[in-house]
Subunit: 182 residues, 2 copies
Amino acid sequence: MQNQNLTEKLISSNHIFTGKVISLQVDTIELPNGKSATRELVKHPGAVAILAITQDNTVILVEQYRHPCGKIMLEIPAGKLDVQGESPEQCAFRELAEETPYTAQRMTLLYTFYTAAGFCNEKMYLYQAHDLLKNSQSETDEDEFVRQVYLSKEDVKKALKNQEIQDSKTLIALQHWLAQED
Amino acid sequence: MQNQNLTEKLISSNHIFTGKVISLQVDTIELPNGKSATRELVKHPGAVAILAITQDNTVILVEQYRHPCGKIMLEIPAGKLDVQGESPEQCAFRELAEETPYTAQRMTLLYTFYTAAGFCNEKMYLYQAHDLLKNSQSETDEDEFVRQVYLSKEDVKKALKNQEIQDSKTLIALQHWLAQED
């Protein structure tokens, strides 16, 4: 068991659907034991998310209705890599400016991770924004409906304890922030 | 902006695909401003993941090939809610026993969260396993190929720093563990 090869090999790919955000294919693969199996694969362009802390040490969250969950979720600002030629870092600067009244002067990459590695290739780039400036006017998309919420570290500890944070990237970012020294 | 309604209303639903793990539909919804838009929605049965710490204070991880990512990933034990009538907690006991040489006597729920709230309804139940017992024989599925890896807190800190953990549920579990007192 300890030395076995774990790798699966692609045999064939059956395209099912192409949408605005995701596409779907069903791949046939060869397992390490030579048997074949199918894998449903949701393809996604990838996304960025931003941990942004204001000068008075509050984290900027956004409330947004999430149709798949059927409710309003409390999340860090985030968005898809959907602009041609835009780097993840550029996307992070843009999304922060679109979803909040702040812009950042600098971004550092905290983690890259797959949100649902079992069936989806979505890769998330989680940045921390630095040197925030408050904007005089909002750059929000007219069809984007978000509401900003500002939480202190104590507020975040309570929100985590009360299961008010139910979004994976937001849990990762907030745990990271709580572990940082002020 | 601050008092606006954020909720979207479902107008109609177009079923695209039903697979073994996921299904796909494209929903037409009404935005808060009265305009309509479409939402691609991947439906998933939900899943559990388990933070399991051995008596010598190492976390049990599993290496597994993930076809969507095209590589072997290092993750906490996890699995889908795919057995009829099984609760998330029962599923956590079963998956730990299937993917590792340990069984737990007790599970506590740490977090529930959505892995990809923008386009998928997958809900993850993250448990911490308690009072682990080592099994004499493995209960591994014959078509499941996983390899166990045991990391100390120091190992985990290094792995996080070196971007070796690229799975969202595992990042949440490991950060939670690091914040726990020994």
